[in-house]
Amino acid sequence: MIDFGYSLTPSSTIEIDDADMSLFDELCAVEPDAIKCMSCGSCAASCTAGVFTDLNLRKVLLGLQRGCEEDVLPQLKSCMLCGKCHIVCPRGINTRHLILSICKIYNI
């Protein structure tokens, strides 16, 4: 490859039509809260583990909604279940149980 001094950014297009959303639908059936999220990021801002790792529940949910679970699920491994995200969530989402259900359904 000739080095032109610049490169092409790989496309970040997400083909929602091609994504397999069956697991997400399954998640929504047990956790109707999963679609309540408005991605405000309060959870990520208050996250105890987020100080040390890249854990970001907002991003995890966005990723799941868009069918790119492989990119986001490993983040959940560092969650300490402390529940601060639950306390701050303006939508009253039971985030701890949501995380447990994600783990159960996506089997990470």
Partner: protein, 614 residues
């Protein structure tokens, strides 16, 4: 003097009783063996050792009489219920004991027969009266009367439970009803049967008048065998259904007490010690009124009595749903007449659930311990202050604690200024004991490395796990309520009292019922304002609804629990609600119309600064 009426010493009517008796005995023996086998080896050895330990055996005897026969705990709570239970339990016990004494005194060769002491009056005839004989007869009638009075109360309670101070009672199963009705029938039938025979077999102030009554209205009072058949059938029915009803608690509790006193804990959801607890539940329904979830009628089915019922039925999905819903506030256990470890039972079930996540806490090891802490050197006693992860949501708590420490001139180090590692209690409460160990180990390292003799904690949740599950090599763990009260009592800090203000103190579940700290915060608060009591407080305090214990309660359900808890706190119209747990504070302040403040804030606000004093 007495003589035997029948040479055989036997009549067919004893059969129902004997069948029931032998069935129950076998059931209990098999049950005891099953439980002992299911116990872990070290637990089993502990039980055997406890049986030869005079101190523990003394405790066992005390509890057997106090709990099983006299129901002392119930007496303390509710006199009528106490009388009802102890009259039936102790009265029945005495009937059996005196029945045996009679048999051994008058016809010792029949002592080996189960039924003889029970149906003594049928088989024996009075020849002449002696003082000893009439005393025994009097006692038998007396205790029969005692039991009958208890039965009458029990019948009233079934139809009008409010008269007995219980708002709700448990919904009985079909077999429970069979057991209940046969229990009600046993003693009136005994009175009738003994009344019929009182003319021959003798009697006292209760049975003799019944005999006269029968003689005056019935043409052939000699045909009394049918009454004895009825009595025996009632006894037999009760004992046959016993293992499948709540009445199994009667024999089970006798066995549970030595296990409990030996210090055995629940390890598995329905095996070993847990099984003994499950069968010891009398379904009395005290937990119904105790449970914070009962504010919703739908929440009633999530109480401990129904949890136990579902586990006994092996209804795994329902049991798990209840276990996950529980706030783990522990109120039901504290009020339970036999102190069933409701939290441990549920936790054991939670622990069994697969987590489907491979936890990776390796990032913790990469954080250098000093990176989180920051020392503020003032001189004096060295204290390590852990504000807990919740303090980032309630910075006022941490700031107030620091203000008090600075004013007191105490040398302290902040353990988690640059980021907190969770104490591990939330993971533990979710049944993830192994995962929690990673967090516990890291925190232990930081604490031990600091070299501080005192670990000060401002979160009730963290405090509990530090006390119970951390190995800190003798570092003293202190909750800030204890520590500040100690400082104030020693005169290290001076507080001014605002005479006009009325405060109410909320006992956080983890601090009060969890660690038994009720007095220190109250004493300290009484130094700064007037404390008014809540409607229910101390060990009966109502969970704020924010508890991390529950995994599945919805936002709305939690809201209603919080509302009820606030109503309870504001019964005496206080100016402020004071709590000593950041989670309670967060939860209350969302819904309370009255200002909710943390204990540390109140103390910090009312500090008398030393310079001003001079």
């Amino acid at each position: 003097m007495m003589r035997e009426r029948f040479i055989s010493g036997y009549d067919h009517f004893v059969l129902p009783f004997m069948v029931g008796m032998i069935f129950v005995l076998l059931w209990c023996i098999i049950g005891v063996i099953k439980i002992m086998v299911q116990l872990e080896r070290k637990d089993r050895i502990k039980v055997y050792k406890s049986l030869v330990n005079p101190v523990i055996m003394g405790k066992n005897v005390r509890d057997w009489f106090g709990d099983c026969l006299f129901h002392v705990k119930l007496w303390r709570r509710n006199k009528v219920l106490g009388y009802m239970h102890s009259s039936i339990a102790f009265g029945w016990f005495m009937l059996i004991v005196i029945g045996h004494i009679e048999t051994f005194l008058y016809i010792p060769e029949r002592g080996g027969l189960f039924y003889y002491p029970i149906f003594f009056r049928y088989f024996m005839a009075v020849e002449s009266t002696t003082l000893k004989g009439s005393l025994l007869f009097f006692l038998m009638d007396f205790f029969l009367l005692v039991v009958l009075s208890g039965i009458i109360l029990a019948i009233i309670k079934r139809f009008r439970s409010k008269l007995m101070g219980m708002r709700r009672t448990t919904k009985l199963t079909l077999l429970d009803r069979v057991g209940l009705y046969s229990l009600w029938a046993i003693f009136p039938l005994r009175l009738i049967a003994e009344g019929f025979t009182a003319g021959v077999g003798g009697g006292s102030f209760l049975t003799v008048p019944v005999n006269w009554l029968f003689a005056s209205i019935l043409s052939k009072p000699e045909n009394f065998t049918i009454a004895w058949w009825a009595y025996s059938i009632a006894l037999g029915t009760f004992m046959i259904v016993l293992p499948y009803t709540r009445y199994m608690h009667i024999p089970a509790e006798f066995f549970l007490i030595p296990l409990k006193n030996a210090g055995i804990k629940v390890r598995r959801p329905r095996k070993g010690y847990a099984l003994a607890e499950l069968y010891s539940c009398p379904s009395c329904g005290v937990c119904l009124d105790a449970c914070p979830m009962s504010v919703d009628k739908a929440g009633l089915k999530n109480t401990t009595v129904y949890y136990i019922r579902q586990v006994k039925r092996r209804n795994q999905p329902r049991a798990l749903a209840i276990a996950d819903k529980c706030l783990m506030c522990g109120k039901c256990s504290v009020l339970c007449p036999i102190n069933i470890s409701a939290i441990d039972l549920r936790l054991a079930l939670r622990k069994q659930q697969p987590y489907n996540i491979e936890h990776d806490f390796s990032y913790l090891d990469k954080i250098p311990n000093e990176a989180l802490t920051s020392a503020i050197s003032v001189g004096g006693e060295k204290v390590l202050y852990y504000s807990g992860c919740m303090s980032s949501l309630t910075p006022m708590v941490s700031q107030s604690v620091q203000k008090v420490l600075t004013t007191a001139g105490i040398d302290f180090t902040l353990m988690d200024e640059q980021g907190t590692i969770c104490c591990g209690r939330p993971l533990l409460l979710s049944g993830r004991t192994e995962e929690a160990k990673a967090l516990i180990e890291k925190n232990e390292q930081i604490i031990k490395e600091s070299g501080a003799p005192i670990l000060l904690v401002s979160c009730a949740i963290c405090y509990r796990i530090f006390k119970e599950d951390y190995d800190l090599n003798g570092v003293q763990v202190m909750h800030y309520t204890e520590y500040f009260e100690q400082l104030a009592a020693e005169g290290v800090i001076k507080l001014r009292k605002q005479e006009k203000l009325k405060y109410v103190y909320h006992d956080p579940c983890e601090l009060g019922r969890g660690c038994g700290i009720y007095e220190a915060p109250r004493k300290a608060l009484a130094r700064v304002a007037n404390l008014v009591p809540a409607a229910k407080e101390r060990k009966e305090s109502i969970c704020c609804g924010g508890s991390l214990g529950s995994l599945t309660l919805t936002h709305e359900e939690r809201g209603r629990i919080t509302e009820n808890s606030i109503r309870n706190l504001t019964a005496n119209s206080p100016d402020r609600i004071v709590t000593a747990c950041p989670l309670c504070m967060k939860t209350f302040s969302r819904q309370s119309e009255i200002k909710v403040v943390d204990f540390a804030q109140v103390i910090a606000e009312n500090l008398v600064e030393k310079e001003k004093e001079e």
